[in-house]
């Protein structure tokens, strides 16, 4: 029997088998992890090629087909998310080799890989799923693996943050599940195709609202962001990069899918979501300005960026939804790449200097310039300066808002941008200031091969902006859902 291989199956099963192998053979975990990541990335590229050639593709698992069985489906947006996940994941894995090399990190080395590969299984599963119950199961896989990664460092602060994260995550999943139950009662179906056809009613809207609140909790939209800063700031650097760059995107992606396919959102709800996003931008900005530690500042910037993505979604109200999701998707991709780079760079800086107190960064005689450069590049994309992908995302947000006459979203975005310039400047100015150091400054100390992965990510975040047009064309493949079936 030679099994028929399908890239979608591979994208889910390769990391699963990799996780099992890495768990069984702790000594070889790193090798297994890297090989698995490389192979998964290969499978995703294969899938991308297929989607480019033929449009959206479907695998009916078990041969039953929806609605009885579960279909895997890949279209432009799913493949874009898969590419983001596996490519960023691969580079973070390379960086993890270095940042987990300490003599006291044997356990972390051993457990990082199985947890991360299980996380990858869950995320790839989300991006290929077309079934809301299956999505629930997948976000449970993600939640447990992500909590494991949060507490990997074993510090008291990380454990406390991890526990809070787990409570928030489980509550979010539970709300999502209750919503799924009620949707099933109404529509009698769990797959997206069945949901598109479902009739809108008050009860249906309430069920959808439950699911969406669960997702907002998981993606940490203000004011449900309370768990995120501590969890992301206290994890080890590669785990932070994965959690902040990739994990929160899974719930965001489900949110985008649901709102595209469901007989949902009326104007009030969209405005409310935009308002929450505005709250995130402002509150997160203030907290980032006040943060005393570098990693905490970066974590608060994630809260801001999540808010921005929701503003992009709400930028042009109900009429604009058919276009707005693309602006949101661009920002998701941009943030994924840039934030992973920034967390890795922050971890490198902390490793070299020995602390990450922002106030004392300019007193350090050691200047890991390459890591600082990476941080600055990532900041450029997050602030939204051209030609980065972050700029394109922000630009398409504001363009859409302006053409719809929704100037308030433009104002909020501008304020958010100015605030992000301010809080990143706190860090960047400390990098550039030398007059507070008594000892001779070793300006080029702390260059290491370990900087290669974050630097590549940061350069990608800048460079992808030049490819924005093809990316936009790509994520439109197979949209909307019904048309491609």
């Amino acid at each position: 029997m030679t099994p028929d291989l399908d890239p979608m199956i591979l994208a889910i099963f390769l990391p699963l088998f990799g996780a099992i192998a890495a768990f069984m053979l702790p000594r070889a975990a790193a090798v297994i992890g890297l090989v698995t990541l490389a192979m998964t990335t290969g499978a995703v590229f294969w899938l991308a090629q297929r989607v480019l050639a033929t449009g959206a593709v479907i695998v009916p698992l078990g041969g039953w087909g929806a609605p009885l069985g579960i279909d895997l489906r890949a279209d432009g947006l799913s493949v874009a998310m898969l590419l983001l996940t596996s490519a960023v994941g691969f580079l973070v894995s390379v960086a993890a080799l270095d940042s987990l090399k300490g003599a006291d990190q044997a356990r972390q080395r051993q457990y990082f890989w199985p947890l991360w590969l299980l996380l990858l299984t869950g995320m790839n599963g989300v991006y290929l799923s077309t079934d809301i119950f299956n999505l629930y199961v997948m976000i449970e896989v993600i939640a447990l693996a992500a909590v494991g990664l949060t507490v990997l460092s074993g510090t008291k602060a990380a454990l406390r943050a991890g526990l809070e994260y787990m409570y928030a995550s489980i509550l979010g999943a539970l709300l999502f599940l209750m919503g799924v139950g009620f949707v099933y009662m109404q529509a009698g179906q769990l797959d997206f195709a069945g949901l598109i056809a479902a009739e809108p009613s008050a009860a249906m809207s309430a069920a959808l609202a439950l699911m969406i609140v669960g997702l907002l909790l998981k993606t940490a939209l203000f004011p449900l962001h309370f768990w995120l800063p501590a969890a992301h700031a206290n994890a080890t650097a590669p785990a932070s990069a994965l959690l902040s760059g990739l994990v929160v995107k899974a719930a965001l992606y489900i949110f985008l899918r649901l709102t595209t396919y469901m007989p949902l959102p009326d104007e009030i709800l969209i405005t409310l979501i935009g308002a929450l996003g505005a709250g995130a931008v402002l509150w997160g900005g203030v907290q980032a300005l006040r943060a005393e530690r570098l990693k905490l500042l970066v974590a608060w910037s994630t809260v801001v960026q999540i808010g921005l993505i929701f503003i992009a979604f709400a930028r042009a109200g109900q009429v604009g939804l058919a276009e707005s999701w693309k602006a949101a998707a661009l920002l998701i991709l941009a943030h994924g790449v840039a934030k992973a780079a920034m967390f890795l760079a922050a971890g490198r800086i902390k490793d070299e200097i020995g602390h990450d107190r922002i106030r004392d960064l300019d007193r350090a005689p050691v200047r890991p310039t390459l890591a600082q450069f990476t941080f600055a590049l990532a900041a450029i994309s997050l602030i939204g300066l051209p030609p980065s992908l972050g700029f394109i995302g922000k630009w398409s947000l504001m363009e859409g808002a302006m053409s719809a006459g929704y100037w308030h979203w433009v104002v909020i975005t501008m304020i958010g941008t100015l605030m992000s310039v301010a809080y990143f400047s706190r860090v960047l100015s400390a990098f550039l200031r030398f007059d507070r150091v008594r000892a001779p400054v070793g300006e080029h100390q702390g260059w290491a091969l370990a900087d290669a992965a974050p630097l590549t990510l940061a350069l990608t975040a800048i460079g992808l902006g030049l490819m924005a047009a093809p990316i936009l064309r790509f994520i439109e493949i197979g949209y909307p859902f019904g048309a491609a079936l």
């Binding site: 078990g62 869950g122 454990l159 009860a203 249906m204």
Partner: protein
């Protein structure tokens, strides 16, 4: 309304709600756990009344049995750490009024959403029932729930098993290194009880697994019952986990996931996709998967009760329970 069962149902529903309120309002943690266990048992009864015996079995075995044991063990650790007999859950830091109000508003909105969704839902909505009934002959098993779990939606079930694997990996990686104190010893369990109970548990667990193909039961329920074997062995110290057993334990954790995933992949080919079992072998394959998954579930739940990776201890006299 002459049906006496309606009165029973009403009383049951009231009791469940009352127990939930009691569990939330009791301050003493031990009392809280006891109330929670009773709550779980009555919930299981409610599932029986809702004609969902599979869910009832799972609720009784996992939601009440294993969870209760986990809670009691955690309480034991808390008592040991604080040195007090009774641990109450009075928060050490008072919660700000603003946060409380925000939480209350949030919960109110959720309740409102639940109410609207519930009241608007059709009492007997469309579902998969007819579709499942039509496809049962092609599933290889006779019990619809098993057909859905292990065939039609086997992918979901595989990922549920992965969730359990992720849980045990996450628990094993948490080092109890924060305090160097050894784990507190649990109380004694009479060996004679274990001798009497173990064979019975093994028979019941295996029966639940086996009968799953045509009647309520299956891997999750059977595995949870078999996990009780592990709990008893650990409590009676008939088995003390050793560092060199870790390899076997890891193997047992991944066995279910590994076999399930391998079968799902290997059946593909020749026009079939993953998870598409050939009809002639469907029942055999499903039983194979269920058997392996049962072993994994049992060992994983017992390991979760044990609570940590058995690592080499620095002092010989430390008990690693």
């Amino acid at each position: 309304m002459t049906d006496p069962l309606v009165i029973f149902d009403l009383l049951l529903a009231l009791a469940i709600v009352a127990l939930a309120v009691a569990a939330l309002s009791v301050r003493d943690l031990y009392a809280m756990i006891v109330v929670f266990v009773i709550f779980g048992l009555l919930s299981a009864l409610a599932w029986v009344r809702l004609s969902a015996p599979d869910v009832a079995l799972a609720e009784a075995a996992i939601g009440t049995g294993v969870t209760g044991a986990l809670l009691l063990k955690t309480l034991h650790h808390l008592r040991f750490a604080s040195g007090q007999r009774s641990v109450s859950m009075t928060p050490t830091i008072p919660v700000p009024t603003g946060v409380m109000l925000a939480n209350a508003a949030f919960c109110g909105l959720i309740t409102l959403g639940l109410a609207v969704a519930f009241l608007g839902a059709p009492s007997a909505g469309p579902g998969f029932d007819t579709l499942v009934a039509e496809s049962m002959p092609a599933s290889g098993v006779d019990h619809p729930v098993t057909g859905v779990l292990l065939n039609f939606r086997a992918y979901d079930t595989l990922m549920e098993v992965v969730v359990l694997l992720a849980a045990v990996v996450a628990v094993w990686q948490i080092e109890r290194g924060l305090s160097d104190a050894p784990a507190p010893e649990m109380g004694e369990v009479w060996q004679g009880f274990a001798r009497l109970a173990l064979p019975a548990i093994v028979v019941v667990g295996t029966y639940l697994l086996w009968v799953g193909a045509e009647a309520p039961g299956g891997a999750f329920q059977g595995g949870a019952v078999l996990a009780a074997v592990g709990l008893l062995l650990l409590l009676t110290r008939a088995y003390v986990p050793q560092p060199h057993h870790r390899g076997i334990a890891r193997g047992a954790f991944v066995l279910g996931t590994g076999v399930f995933a391998l079968v799902a992949l290997l059946v593909a080919g020749g026009g079939r996709v993953a998870f598409e079992y050939p009809l002639d072998h469907a029942k055999t394959l499903i039983l194979l998967i269920e058997g392996m998954v049962t072993i994994s579930i049992a060992v994983t739940l017992a390991a979760l009760f044990h609570g940590r990776e058995p690592v080499a201890l620095r002092m010989e006299d430390r008990h690693d329970t």
